[in-house]
């Protein structure tokens, strides 16, 4: 069974540009989570989607946004990129909303130059 898959693996963008990261959850999982892992800052929660709806949002500016598609895959968009957005972006999925284990993908490295 395939795990959580993310693309692209690496992405290099210029400051001010937009980045789009994609995530496919484990088959049957309806909840998708996005986390940012920046150097020295640990794992910071970005967004949670379940059944196509945004359920929760972390303490990030509005230029971080996303969506979940009918097939439960998800996109994370980062507009007006800043150098500090350089990080590993992790997607995770779980079976439904409550009491289930969250499984992580391998992440997408975003470098802003």
């Amino acid at each position: 069974e395939a795990g959580v898959t993310q693309s692209p693996t690496h992405l290099i963008k210029t400051r001010g540009q937009q980045a789009t990261l994609r995530c496919s959850p484990i088959s049957g999982h309806t909840s998708v989570y996005w986390y940012q892992q920046a150097l020295g800052l640990g794992l910071q929660f970005l967004l949670w989607y379940d059944e196509g709806e945004e359920r929760n949002r972390g303490n990030f500016p509005p230029r971080f946004s996303g969506r979940q598609f009918p097939n439960y895959s998800s996109e994370l968009n980062v507009n007006a990129l800043e150098l500090e957005d350089s990080a590993l972006y992790l997607c995770a999925s779980s079976l439904g909303r409550s009491g289930n284990t969250i499984y992580f993908g391998e992440g997408s490295w975003l470098t802003v130059v």
Binding site: S31, Y33, Y35, G42, L43, F45, W48, R55, N56, G58, L90, A92, S94, G96, R97, S98, G99, N100, T101, I102, Y103, F104, G105, E106, G107
Partner: protein, 113 residues
């Protein structure tokens, strides 16, 4: 708001030494607790989890953790570490109604052969 604190940022041990990594959380309700491991260059993997029942939880690769409700703690232990245990370890808490994981800052474990 939920928070997780890991006591040690970097732990250095020799092979065969015993390991205990501290984790305390702040949350008034019933929680689910997790330890994840991130080996160098790899994605986050679940080590073990506690949802309910026996507070002593056994995970993969010989790891175990004990949930002490009165102390809001979920410490990770291993009787004898191996060089291959070198990794970063993250403690995480989640409301038992579901939703996002809140992570601790992570503990980097270096095991000397």
């Amino acid at each position: 708001a939920q928070s997780v604190s890991q006591h040690n940022h970097h732990v250095i041990l020799s092979e065969a030494a015993s390991l205990e990594l501290g984790c305390n959380y702040s949350y008034g309700g019933t929680v689910n607790l997790f330890w994840y491991v991130q080996y160098p260059g790899q994605h986050l993997q679940l080590l073990l989890k506690y949802f309910s029942g026996d507070p002593l939880v056994k995970g993969i690769k010989g790891f175990e953790a004990e949930f002490i409700k009165s102390k809001f703690s979920f410490n990770l232990r291993k009787p004898s570490v191996q060089w291959s245990d070198t990794a970063e370890y993250f403690c995480a808490v989640r409301d038992n109604q579901g939703g996002k994981l809140i992570f601790g800052q992570g503990t980097e474990l270096s095991v000397k052969p």
